[in-house]
Symmetry: C2
Subunit: 219 residues, 2 copies
Amino acid sequence: MTDTASTKRSAPRGRIDKRVAILDAAFTVFARRGYEQACVQEIAEVAGVAKPTVYNHLSDKENLFRHAIEAAADAVMADNLAVVDRMRDAGDDLRTTMEDVAYRMLRICCDERSRALRRLAYAQLNRFPDVIEVVHRRTSGRLAEGLADRLARLCLSGHLRPCDPTQAAEQFLALLTGPMETRSQLGSRKVSAAETRAVAAAAVDTFLRAYRATPADPS
Amino acid sequence: MTDTASTKRSAPRGRIDKRVAILDAAFTVFARRGYEQACVQEIAEVAGVAKPTVYNHLSDKENLFRHAIEAAADAVMADNLAVVDRMRDAGDDLRTTMEDVAYRMLRICCDERSRALRRLAYAQLNRFPDVIEVVHRRTSGRLAEGLADRLARLCLSGHLRPCDPTQAAEQFLALLTGPMETRSQLGSRKVSAAETRAVAAAAVDTFLRAYRATPADPS
DNA sequence: CTCCTTTTGAACTTATGGGTTCACTTTATT
DNA sequence: AATAAAGTGAACCCATAAGTTCAAAAGGAG
């Protein structure tokens, strides 16, 4: 592992945190302008760094993009995992718990970073298919996986009817994100917290109508 | 400049169909390269036309983009309306009819033109928010509206439980397109017809579980 | 044929931005 | 203080592409 601690090692002094400043700035500028319109000069300025320093840390613009995108994807993944983990104690009041989790998921999916990531992914599908595939796996993919795990438990505990948890997770996420994309016009306008909560509640309601164990079929 | 007026002067000879050739070529090239990477030279070549001719018909690259995108959106809208119209005779066998309609919708949402439109919309949200808003209204928006009309009828005829048809349509479309986006990795890989049919069937199944009128509540 | 519009090809202007070079300064460690 | 790695600013090269100009050609209408 490398030197993450403060003031250690001999070679890269406390200045190597410029690398993360550059990656942060890169994501900011790519998000603002798109890949082609983002110029390295602006990234350097936002990072508070000279242009050759950028090229010193990351060989070229393509590399800059790959690393910036993957770093952002990792951050989003961390958020996703934290939220999905809240489903663990979902036994008590299923509907309330799911509404809470749903709302938090929507918050993540609609924050600036996630939206920028989605925009960049769509825009650069042709140029960077490999990067985009990784991003997709680490964000939506991980989220769906983790959610499927939780749903599987709920099936076994008799809270949900027997079903394919992967498909259930896929559909639950679709019920959440689809309507949000519609309401926000692909993320171009803000959606109020109240409306977001309404979307979450509607998604949970429909999901539970379709997947709740029937009263006549307890366990 | 006079490009919005309908047929300037007296019949500009059979050569003015070069305009549609240019718009077609423009969409093709924008779809292939993205807005910034598409060069007017290539558009001219694909259209079988000289570069100054392009500038003669459409003032500049921005104008070219706007008209090409809106033309493509109109074409997609026409397809959408045709499919949604098939829901009119949905009374007989609700599930079968809906599965057929769902499958056709997925075909449209996943064809090359729709995918390119979606990619361009996401990519150019910042630069052309107005165009993208129009595209959204004419494609997804119209589709949701038309579908909501059909669902409202099904509520009144007692096939579906009483509900908000707009929300039901929104969720039905989400159940369709969401999983398809996941399976196709944002449209980067093809999904077999069989899998597409399975997604459609799953969406209809979940939708009907949530929205079908309960047997105990006939009308 | 003649007039008039449109098209064409090619060269040209201008602007932008990726990537590099280099001489110079900053900083931390010994 | 000495040293070496890292950072800086400015200038530079080069490729690409938007948009224009112009003289010549093509094609339909009268």
